[in-house]
């Protein structure tokens, strides 16, 4: 039988165990793809956004409906007041319009129409403005200045283009933490780690073997995701392929190192998965997988940029969407490398090998 170097032997054993577990292969490779498909379809660019609004039954209601029908983006529905309020409360409609007779806020000048909406609800303000403009127009107001709408949809600038780098990075994070962390705790529970320690196996060989196998699992994961996004949604890489590969590699090493740290002392799978979720949860929400972290207060943004996941996403977006060169990504690489080296060193120092 062939005689392998220990790193290769450990890597091979891990790969074999992995591919012989079809359910694991499915979750690792197809779950991110499923996310791209679902989110890509849900947020595909709609040609024209339409607004469903309620017109409350009462004086002028019929004429309001008639006037609103002239604007194709508005879909008015005539309803009773109680029903309409219920629909507002439960979020089934974003805007209700009631005509005439109201005293308004200022008793001296009673309003002709009243808009009921929650400005915090997405789309409600847009609906209100569109409806108002249409009603003003049909009442005789003319535009003072001429304006023209140009729909912005450059390639590389859609939500799916934004999403795919985020999901790639998320896959690297989940794969690294689970692929390395879970596997190590499992070996520890089965006393196999202890059994290995009774052989002359070097500790660094073991750790490198675990990390190498993880880097190899990652290749099809990234590849499948990129191909599916391209075929279904036309997502392309505007920058350099090699740069993407480099970010992916460093990102994978980073999360493998963090996975190692998470697993370094855990003695049960519950502890390990609790720790992993604790590590991943803030990054899922803060690092900008699904929406830009610019939405968070200015004050916390420097902190967000120091999280392990953020630079991976930022660098991938910069290369894939904006075609940036890798030379502009120094700060991102600095954060990623720091998060690779320090967790690895700490893990090595505190690792529980024998029990």
């Amino acid at each position: 039988m062939k005689h392998h170097h220990p790193i290769l032997a450990i890597t091979l054993a891990r790969l074999r165990e992995f591919v012989r577990r079809p359910e694991a292969v499915f979750w690792v490779y197809f779950f991110p793809v499923l996310m791209v498909i679902v989110l890509g379809v849900a947020f595909r660019n709609q040609k024209v956004e339409t607004f469903d609004v309620d017109v409350i039954n009462g004086a002028d209601a019929a004429s309001i409906v008639e006037n609103l029908k002239l604007e194709t983006r508005i879909k008015p529905h005539l309803r009773d007041e109680d029903e309409s309020r219920e629909r507002l409360r439960t979020g089934k409609t974003t805007l209700a319009i009631s005509g005439g007779k109201s005293d308004g806020n200022d008793a001296s000048s009673p309003a002709d129409v009243e808009y009921l909406f929650d400005p915090a609800r997405p789309g409600s303000l847009a609906a209100r403005n569109l409806v108002d403009a249409q009603l003003q127009k049909s009442a005789g107001r003319t535009d003072v200045i001429k304006s023209n709408d140009v729909v912005y949809s450059e390639p590389g600038g859609t939500y799916v283009d934004f999403l795919v780098p985020g999901l790639l990075a998320m896959g690297l994070m989940g794969g690294g933490l689970w692929g390395v962390g879970y596997a190590i705790v499992d070996l520890r529970i089965r006393k196999l780690l202890k059994r290995f320690m009774a052989t002359p196996m070097r500790r660094t060989h073991f750790l490198f073997g675990m990390m190498t196998s993880r880097l190899i699992f990652m290749i099809p994961q990234i590849f499948v995701l990129l191909v599916v996004s391209y075929l279904l949604f036309g997502v392309k890489i505007y920058g350099n392929w090699f740069s993407v590969a480099l970010v992916v590699l460093v990102g994978a090493i980073e999360f493998a190192a963090i996975g190692l740290l998470v697993a370094s002392r855990a003695q049960t799978l519950e502890t390990a998965s609790g720790l992993m979720n604790l590590v991943m949860l803030p990054m899922w929400t803060l690092s900008g997988i699904f929406f830009s972290y610019e939405r968070f207060p200015e004050l916390v943004q420097p902190v967000i940029k120091l999280l392990p996941l953020t630079p991976v996403i930022d660098a991938l977006r910069a290369i894939m969407m904006d075609g940036k060169s890798i030379t502009t990504l120094g700060p991102e690489f600095a954060v990623m490398i720091t998060w690779s080296v320090i967790p690895f060193m700490i893990a090595l120092a505190i690792f529980r090998w024998n029990d």
């Binding site: 032997a9 450990i10 202890k194 009774a198 002359p200």
Partner: protein
């Protein structure tokens, strides 16, 4: 002759509330080429001791020397020359027998070919089978093969046959005997007395973290003073028997009573039996069981501790 293992004054206390003094002053020496058995009930400190010798856990105090080297200085050199099978290791289910041994072989600078290790434990037919398809006995043989693949001079086997059926147990015994025939050294823990009697040149009987007897199985049995055991039970209250009368029968060395049985250690069963039966007949008592056998290491343990090896909680002081 140099010794393969020498340990002096080993102590191991596991921290906790209260701390557990698992090993309390162990001294022994194993010669090269010897099969040494560590015998004792659950919790006696066998695993703790063997793991100190395997370099897997440091003793709280005391010294362990393996193949004339110390764990502190020559850990890797020792590991190249020993083979280990732990009490509870779950090898990877989804690797084949051959792949498992290839993995273990890769850790050693020199060793035997995985195929050779497979042959030594007679698993040739299972070479390509996944570990999860193996029977308990086959898994245990594979565990021993992982200990052999580095071509060791000394192997440590922690309860290699516990939980196996008799025929699987015998297969393992043959593997161990073949290893011994090459002049190599074995340290084995077990709580099966017949296993120790068959395989071991010398045994140490452990109880509560200490060695309570050491020697060859034959010596230990001889130390009982009488080499046969008669066990019997009666269908009436034990009080009815006159213990002194039984002890007065020639060659009776010892009488132990448990809830269900009388146990006599005797020199000559053919002298004792007729007189015993006569005593029963005089009182009109009938026997519900009667057996006679050669004394075993089990009897040595019972005579030293008053307990049986497989008693529940046997490790705890009575």
């Amino acid at each position: 002759m140099p010794s393969a293992i020498r340990c002096t004054n080993l102590f191991k206390t596991y921290p906790g509330k209260p701390p557990v003094e698992a090993v309390r002053g162990i001294n022994f020496e194993v010669n090269v080429g010897e099969c040494y058995g560590v015998l004792g009930p659950n919790g006696a400190g066998k695993t703790t001791t063997i793991e100190i010798l395997e370099g897997l856990s440091p003793p709280t105090s005391g010294e362990a020397e393996v193949l004339s080297m110390s764990w502190a200085k020559d850990a890797n050199a020792i590991r190249e020359r020993i083979g280990v099978s732990l009490q509870e290791t779950q090898l990877s289910d989804r690797l084949s027998v051959g792949e498992t041994l290839q993995l273990f072989r890769s850790f050693y600078r020199s060793g035997v070919d995985p195929d050779e290790a497979i042959a030594r434990v007679s698993l040739q037919e299972k070479k390509n089978a996944w570990v999860k398809t193996l029977s308990g006995g086959q898994k245990q043989r594979l565990a021993v093969a992982t200990a052999l693949v580095g071509d060791p001079e000394l192997i440590f086997l922690d309860e290699p046959t516990t939980g196996l059926d008799p025929s699987s147990r015998r297969e393992l015994w043959e593997i161990i005997e073949a290893f011994k025939r090459e002049g190599k050294t074995v340290l084995l823990t077990t709580h099966y007395m017949e296993e120790a009697e068959r395989l071991c040149d010398r045994v140490a009987i452990f109880d509560s973290g200490k060695i309570i007897a050491e020697g060859s199985p034959a010596e230990l049995i001889r130390s009982l003073g009488a080499e046969h055991v008669i066990e019997f039970s009666i269908d009436q209250n034990h009080e009815i028997m006159d213990d002194e009368l039984i002890r007065s029968i020639p060659t009776v060395d010892r009488l132990d009573k448990s809830d269900s049985q009388f146990r006599l250690t005797v020199g000559q069963p053919h002298v004792v039996l007729p007189q015993l039966i006569q005593q029963l007949a005089d009182k009109g008592i009938s026997l519900s069981s009667l057996t006679t056998r050669h004394a075993s290491l089990e009897d040595v343990f019972v005579s030293l501790t008053g307990r049986h090896l497989d008693d529940e909680n046997a490790g705890k002081a009575p």
